[in-house]
């Protein structure tokens, strides 16, 4: 019988513990986890990049659902443990589960501290701890304009920078005279303040909050001195408290946190505690490096493997705000027995300070240039006597031993056990050995195998230098990101060369551009196929084997291998005949699900691949063509009822939408392309978050583009105003063609626009009639070859082999 291991809390630290435990003793325990947050283990450190829009939640998941399934772990998401019964050895939850344990791990993390000023419980007052907080902030950022952050520490400043990035008007209120005073000395704190103010963030230091004011919701924040800062969002980021409540109720020893010995065992020998909720050696920790150490020790102990007891070590702090480099480590207070070495370079905005005691470094503050952080850290850790190099120490490693070294030589000179990734505790030799052993060539691979640079990412530069040192010339991080592992060329180069060298087939291209693989991969082939289709519409023979399955069979593959079918409903209009035809098809083919999509049409889900041609044949008879719901191409044109019916409609939005859809359907684009036309600024067709949108107004039409409402949310940019439907057609089509010709494969229009510049696009489409006409003509030319209904083609027999098995051995064993 396996022993039962129950874990309370599913944060980063127990996640790390389980990884180690499964490495050491995969079969020892049956694991059950309770997590109050309704989700898997994700990288909490990376919430700020999610807030600022540099990452998505999906990108920061550490263990997806599959990870738990593969290990037979029972994960209760959204279940909070409310009681530990140490006599019965059970835990119970707020949802009524009771589970017994042989060993219990408490990893409940911390609670954000809420200062109990009047108004702290008003709607619009948030903390910053988990994904829900980020989502709430993003929601607020959409509709509200002013935010105040209370707390100028690490979290508060990351939140401030993120919300600023999202377009809010942000102020920071900080109790102390300088920012991040726990990590930075005064000088660095001032530099940081200047930088943030330069970005438009208002900073109030030495300021105490008196109350949060508002009637039913937040309206502002009043300081002790009477100043009122208007705000519709207040984020409190003033500190965290170890979350030890359930341990206290179970009468375990609790001080600042749940007290454990050097092996993470609490006052009950069957109960462990680790992570932010634990107090070890009188200390509680709030960053992952030492916490991962507690995870390692607990895992070894649970696995019965000998290991050393926990030892305190200094860990560095970095701020994860793009464009701000700061690093601090150890103790940098002043004192009689201490000396300091300071370097300032005003021009370059650099400040460095080392605190020395007994010829050893005990504290480091770096601002503006943090490249020597790892080296100083190493000197501090090893307690090396620095008297020999005192004169040049502050200039960094490159200046030791005569001639300056280049940065990679400096990295090469680091000792094998130098820590490169603080978050994950990965040292130099682990990275170098893994690169060699597994033959790794990309940063992503190194992240996957070693975890280095996979958490907060501030060590990415160091890891890349290590890669160049290890791999030599074959690794060049400064180069353009190649399309994929098959080539060193980036998308733009490839597109340019396709035209310049008149490359008209994929094999030709791979030969001419010296592809490193015989026939490409699943990343480059679909991209190349699109570029060819776009650039040589009349000459290139579409290579279906280079298309993703959905585009190959013109239906969307589902998780169980069946398909879904979405016919076009032009501009969202339908009729009784169409609906009847759909109903008949659903009955005839026993289609299990029918759904209205978010794109104003009907999705039939769960169709067997073999049935697709017959389904299409029946739909075709009723006049339906493919809705291309699978295509990197024109998807839907959403419309509202407009002047046909609506009392506010200014123009015929439905008619214009249908016209656009009929003109543009069938065209392939770098990524999907969705349009909408609204009949007035009330915007019921949501045109202002589409790839291209039109908002009808009394005087004509306002053309929008570069919106996003999927992984990212972003309102559109205005391209310009025109007065007739024909002009709308010409401008929209020209814009689409410009995007088709310049976009990188899978790059949505808003990302392309950000890269090219909105003004450049306006200049070419709005202001340059000749260019606009040329784009328009090229689009029209390519449509001649594109507007062929793929369903009809297949009903008439094209690609028959796709839909029929080659043989059925059950029916006729061929012997």
């Amino acid at each position: 019988m396996k022993k039962k291991l129950v874990i309370i809390g599913n944060g980063m630290v127990p996640g790390r513990m389980l990884e180690r435990l499964y490495d050491q003793a995969p079969d020892l325990y049956d694991v059950t986890i309770f997590n109050a947050e309704p989700r898997v283990n994700y990288d909490r450190i990376m919430l700020s990049p999610v807030l600022s829009g540099e990452k998505t939640y999906e990108e920061i998941i550490i263990h997806g659902d599959g990870w738990y399934i593969d290990r037979n772990i029972t994960l209760y998401k959204g279940h909070k443990v409310t009681e530990i019964d140490r006599q019965a050895k059970t835990v119970s939850t707020n949802t009524g589960e009771t589970v017994s344990y042989d060993k219990l791990v408490i990893a409940t993390g911390s609670n954000p501290f809420i200062i109990p000023v009047p108004g702290h419980d008003l709607p619009g007052v948030l903390t910053y701890r988990d994904l829900d907080d980020v989502e709430a902030m993003l929601l607020a950022a959409q509709s509200r304009d002013k935010a105040v952050i209370i707390g100028g520490g690490l979290l508060g400043l990351e939140a401030a920078a993120g919300l600023k990035e999202r377009g809010m008007d942000v102020s920071v209120v900080h109790l102390m005279p300088t920012l991040m005073e726990r990590q930075l000395d005064e000088a660095a704190g001032h530099l940081l303040q200047r930088e943030l103010e330069g970005r438009g963030i208002k900073i109030y230091t030495s300021s105490n909050t008196k109350q949060i004011v508002g009637d039913g919701k937040v309206e502002g924040l009043e300081l002790e001195d009477g100043t009122i800062i208007p705000a519709s969002l207040v984020v409190m980021a003033v500190g965290i408290r170890p979350n030890a409540q359930i341990a206290q109720e179970a009468e375990l020893d609790v001080g600042r946190g749940i007290q454990v010995d050097g092996r993470m065992v609490t006052s009950d020998p069957d109960i462990y505690s680790l992570g932010e909720c634990a107090e070890v050696g009188g200390q509680v920790y709030g960053i992952v490096a030492p916490l991962y150490e507690t995870a390692r020790i607990a895992a070894d102990h649970l696995a019965g493997v000998p290991c050393e007891a926990f030892k305190h070590s200094e860990t560095a702090t970095k701020l994860k705000v793009t464009g701000i480099d700061l690093y601090s480590l150890g103790d940098f207070g002043q004192g009689d027995d201490r000396e300091e070495i300071v370097l300032r370079d005003a021009q370059a905005g650099i400040y460095k300070r080392l605190v020395i005691q007994d010829n050893k470094i005990i504290g480091v503050v770096l601002y503006g240039d943090t490249s020597d952080g790892a080296w100083f850290n190493n000197l501090l850790k090893t307690g090396e006597d620095i008297s020999e190099m005192r004169e040049t120490l502050i200039f960094g490693q490159a200046y030791q031993g005569g001639t300056p070294l280049d940065p990679s030589a400096a990295v090469a000179a680091l000792p094998d056990d130098a820590e490169i990734c603080g978050c994950n505790g990965v040292c130099k030799s682990t990275i170098v050995d893994t690169i060699k052993e597994k033959g790794l060539t990309t940063l992503d691979d190194v992240r996957a195998y070693t975890k280095a640079s996979a958490s907060c990412g501030t060590c990415t530069g160091l890891v890349e230098q290590l890669m160049s040192v290890t791999l030599g010339d074959s690794y060049n991080p400064a180069a353009i990101t190649p399309m994929c592992g098959c080539t060193d060329l980036g998308h733009d180069d490839v597109r340019r060369l396709i035209k310049a060298k008149e490359l008209k087939t994929i094999p030709d291209l791979m030969q001419a551009l010296e592809w490193k693989t015989s026939c490409g991969c699943a990343k480059c082939r679909p991209a190349l196929n699109y570029y060819m289709v776009c650039d040589w519409p009349n000459e290139y023979a579409d290579d279906y084997q280079s298309r993703f399955i959905n585009e190959r069979v013109h239906a969307n593959i589902q998780k169980d291998g069946t398909y879904s079918v979405v016919p076009r409903m032009w501009g969202g209009m339908t009729s009784s005949t169409e609906l009847r035809a759909i109903a008949d098809v659903v009955d005839k083919f026993d289609i299990p699900a029918v759904k209205c999509t978010g794109g104003q049409r009907i999705d039939m889900l769960g169709i067997k691949k073999e049935d697709l041609p017959a389904v299409w044949a029946d739909l075709g008879k009723a006049g339906f063509v493919s809705g291309q719901a699978y295509a990197k191409g024109l998807r839907t044109v959403k419309t509202c009822v407009g002047s046909d019916w609506c009392r506010f409609g200014t123009q015929d939005s439905t008619g214009l939408g249908i016209k656009l859809e009929k003109f543009m359907w069938g065209s392939w684009t770098p990524a999907k392309l969705k349009l909408a036309v609204s009949g007035c600024p009330r915007n019921c067709a949501e045109a202002t978050c589409k790839d291209i949108g039109v908002v009808c107004v009394d005087s004509g039409y306002e053309i929008h583009f570069a919106g996003a409402a999927g992984l990212d949310i972003k309102g559109t940019e205005i391209l310009g105003n025109v007065s007739t439907e024909d002009e709308v057609m010409e401008h929209v089509v020209a814009l689409a063609q410009m995007y088709r010709e310049q976009g990188r494969y899978l790059e949505r229009i808003y990302k392309w626009a950000k890269r090219i510049g909105v003004d450049e696009i306006r200049a070419q489409i709005m202001d340059n009639a000749e260019m606009r006409k040329a784009y328009y003509d090229r689009f029209v030319f390519s449509q001649k070859y594109a507007q062929v209904d793929p369903w009809n083609e297949r009903v008439s027999g094209k690609d028959k082999h796709e839909f029929k098995p080659m043989a059925d051995l059950t029916l006729e064993p061929a012997e």
């Binding site: 599959g66 195998y449 015989s518 993703f548 959905n550 998780k559 080659m806 064993p813 012997e815």
Partner: protein, 111 residues
């Protein structure tokens, strides 16, 4: 295993499978996917991705591998094992081409 003891079943012609493409063979509840690579080699795998049972036959074939259509795991056609950092394997079946006829053996093997 050697060819003498295997039961080879003729299932069709090489041209029946598109170049860099795939076709399925049904065998009771099991589906076997046959792949043809750019250099005309043929491989047979159970049509089930080791990740979440995605139909590998629907993936993109490249360099002796197929990329699963559901979540992009890359599976080696010859060994059936997942490439890169992913771990898992799919059942492989012996297959050979003689005079343009594809011969399959149902003697499956998993790494």
């Amino acid at each position: 295993m050697n060819a003498m003891t295997e039961n080879w079943i003729a299932i069709g012609k090489l041209e029946d499978i598109p170049l860099r493409g795939s076709r399925c063979v049904k065998n009771g509840d099991m589906t076997i996917a046959l792949f043809r690579t750019a250099d005309d080699q043929v491989f047979a795998l159970e049509d089930k991705c080791p990740h979440k049972n995605g139909p590998l036959s629907q993936g993109i074939v490249h360099d002796g591998c197929v990329t699963c259509p559901l979540h992009n795991w890359v599976i080696s056609l010859s060994s059936g094992t997942a490439q890169g950092a992913d771990e898992g394997s799919t059942m492989t079946f012996p297959v050979k081409v003689e005079d343009g006829d594809i011969l399959l053996s149902l003697d499956g093997h998993k790494e």
